[in-house]
Amino acid sequence: LDGNNEVHQGFIHRRLRTHEKREMQKEILSILGLPHRPRPHLSHGKYNSAPLFMLDLYNTISNEEKSQVEGMLDRYQSMRTTQSPPLATYQETAFLNDADMVMSFVNLVEYDRELSPQRRHHKEFKFNLSQIPEGEAITAAEFRLYKECVSRAFRNDTLLLKVYQVVKEHPDRRPVPAESRRLWAAEEGLEFDITATSNLWVMNRDTIWACRAVHQHQGGGPRRTGRCSEKQPFMVAFFKVSEVHIRNSR
């Protein structure tokens, strides 16, 4: 077919038979290295933030071929000033250029547990990393937490945000500090480098880890976090294939 969906002259068009369709589907999945056709359990609008971010990365790759390096820099600078997270930044683009694969992970904790008054500032996130294929090395990983700009009255306040990693099998589930950051209430969008933590996850595949964020508001009580689907926290990891994948003969 050409651009106008007109069949080219001389092109023999015929409908595929059922077994041919099945063979063709298998062949395409095999080329893509997928064991079977993905069957995602999607509930509409539930985990939109990660797909939006990934779509942005995809568009970055697509545009990369067309743009010159200088043009790219301009584009990212304008993106940073005109749009809110979780859009990909120039740093992500650098990771992206080096990566063979990028995976986003949705937060598996849907509802906050009832926490004691002492722990009301705590929030727990869980990511299932068991889907990472063997032989993939993590070159970068980020925990992306959406933070909205607070109202004008609190603009000059600061927040202290601490991120811990939690070993589930540890007897007292003592969290290990990963990062601590003081930020202005007016700031939007947060990215935490969890490359080292992610590599620990991958090296200890049998151990289940969780991620916990604790925020202390310096000027009053805790702020409500965004509930919109496009503002859900998620994790993104960049991979480099460390071994040669050999396609099985069929």
Binding site: K21, P51, Y58, A99, F105, V106
Partner: protein
């Protein structure tokens, strides 16, 4: 199947100068130009494959925006055609192809002609959901045929 059929047809024809020769286009007849090694387009219909629910980029667009503009299919490229003397007619003929042609001319029964194959390949990126609703962006090297030539 279309490619295989046309290739068989092409092999039955006598070898003639190919597309892209130093000779002017008027010096070739149109049927020879059609048989020369070059890039062709093959339209893969997702609908005919039974993949109406495409899991790649456009599916994400549909999922995110609710707009119904998923692709009907994908225009892929492949190489097909004759690689015959003079090989300089083929702009992308390799040195190996020249040697292969000479050996073929000396021993046409046992040594085949050079193959019409990709000379320039590009990467492709695919975006899809996995079974856990995580999104994966994967780069595949050497997946898109940009140019064909004789090897």
């Amino acid at each position: 199947s279309t490619g295989r059929k046309s290739r068989q047809q092409n092999r039955n024809r006598s070898t003639q100068p190919q597309e892209g020769s130093r000779l002017g286009p008027a010096e070739y007849n149109s049927s020879d130009q059609k048989t020369a090694c070059r890039r062709h387009e093959l339209y893969v219909s997702f609908r005919e494959l039974g993949w109406q629910e495409v899991y790649f980029l456009h599916f994400l667009h549909v999922f995110l925006s609710g707009l119904d503009h998923r692709p009907e299919g994908y225009a892929a490229n492949y190489c097909d055609g004759e690689c015959s003397f003079p090989l300089n007619a083929h702009m992308n003929a390799t040195n190996h192809a020249i040697v292969q042609t000479l050996v073929h001319l000396m021993n046409p029964e046992n040594v085949p002609k050079p193959c019409c194959a990709p000379t320039k390949l590009h990467a492709i990126s695919v975006l899809y959901f996995d079974d856990n609703s995580n999104v994966i962006l994967k780069k595949y090297k050497n997946m898109v045929v940009r140019a064909c030539g004789c090897h």
